[in-house]
């Protein structure tokens, strides 16, 4: 009885149970690292919008500048269009602006603005100073329309399809990468 025990203590047996016991904490640790690692990569500021896949909120509001004094959601039906939320007080909008000017210049997509919680004179001056990429800008001085769209960080950009359904939302400045890799493929699909 004592003989096998002594040999055991010198060379540990390849007991599967023992290996399992040693591997388990390691496996748990690896799983934890994986979960936390994924958590680090995830940007908590980018919330999934519940609006994507749902009809855009109906509106009829005055425009800042544009061909019509008022604009409604129905007026834009039948085309794929972009809604860009901006304000003259928004510094990130200034970073985004050249990209938006270039994009609107290509005519790839009609771009409409939503001038969020801004004062009209300041907004108009901003457009004169930096250029106006918008077909028209919806005026939303008290942020009511912004609330309907679930706006929480300007700039935000929505893509709305022919039936008036929101298909895409981007929070933060648009970049050429986002336009090229996300927006345009989706636009082609929505038109196709």
């Amino acid at each position: 009885m004592s003989e096998p025990l002594q040999t055991n203590s010198k060379t540990p047996p390849a007991n599967p149970r023992r290996i399992w016991r040693m591997a388990l904490p390691l496996a748990v640790f690896a799983a934890l690292v994986l979960v936390l690692g994924l958590g680090l990569r995830h940007d908590p500021r980018e919330l999934p919008s519940p609006l994507v896949g749902r009809p855009a909120p109906a509106f009829r509001v005055p425009t800042l500048v544009g061909k019509t004094p008022q604009l409604a959601l129905e007026d834009l039906r039948g085309q794929v269009w972009m809604l860009n939320v901006w304000a003259s007080w928004c510094t990130a909008c200034r970073i985004e602006h050249p990209t938006l000017m270039d994009f609107a210049g290509t005519g790839a997509l009609p771009v409409y603005g939503l001038n969020y919680k801004d004062k009209n004179p300041e907004a108009l001056r901003w457009l004169v100073d930096h250029g106006d990429p918008y077909q028209a800008s919806l005026s939303d001085p008290d942020g009511r329309l912004g609330l309907e769209f679930g706006v929480y960080g300007v700039p935000e950009t929505f893509l709305i399809d022919r039936e008036g359904v929101v298909r895409f939302k981007h929070v933060g400045p648009l970049t050429p990468q986002v336009l090229q890799d996300e927006v345009m493929p989706l636009v082609r699909r929505l038109r196709g």
């Binding site: 023992r18 388990l24 919330l47 999934p48 519940p50």
Partner: protein, 148 residues
């Protein structure tokens, strides 16, 4: 005798100070709205909703402009006679489940709700296995042998 009198005087002074301060502080904490009952309801609901721009604060605690707007929205909707549930649904429809500090139990949140209990059960199981002594009843015996 003198010390007792001094104690009473001090006690009276403290009491007086407390009375003097009490009403002053009550004055500072005047409710914002004319209707305190409504304001209590607004703040109770706002306390359950997350401020989306300052994500670790509630809508009630946050001084962010968006939070102020959303509180005003809650207030005006409640004044129109909407129920707490209706106002909550309004917020969820626009900002998503993320605004709820008390997420409902559903397919996407079962891990959140049950995960801690599952972990606890796993730990309990592991601990039991450990205590059963498979490890190291043999080890202990080995050591006994070596000591001899």
């Amino acid at each position: 005798m003198a010390s007792a009198r001094r104690f009473i005087a001090l006690f009276a002074a403290c009491l007086g100070l407390a009375f003097a301060l009490g009403p002053a502080r009550a004055g500072e904490a005047q409710p914002v709205a004319a209707d305190p009952a409504l304001e209590t309801r607004v703040m109770a609901l706002a306390g359950e909703l997350r401020c989306v721009v300052c994500q670790n604060e509630t809508l009630a605690a946050s001084q962010a402009e968006l939070a102020r707007d959303l509180r005003a929205q809650i207030r005006s909707q409640m004044r129109e006679g909407r129920s707490d549930a209706e106002v909550r649904d309004f917020m969820v429809a626009r900002y998503g489940q993320f605004v709820l500090y008390r997420p409902p139990l559903q397919a996407s949140t079962w891990l959140l709700w049950l995960g801690p209990f599952a972990l606890l059960a796993l730990a309990a199981w592991g601990w039991r296995q450990q205590m059963r002594g498979s490890p190291d009843a043999t080890n202990a015996r080995d050591e006994e042998h070596l000591q001899r």
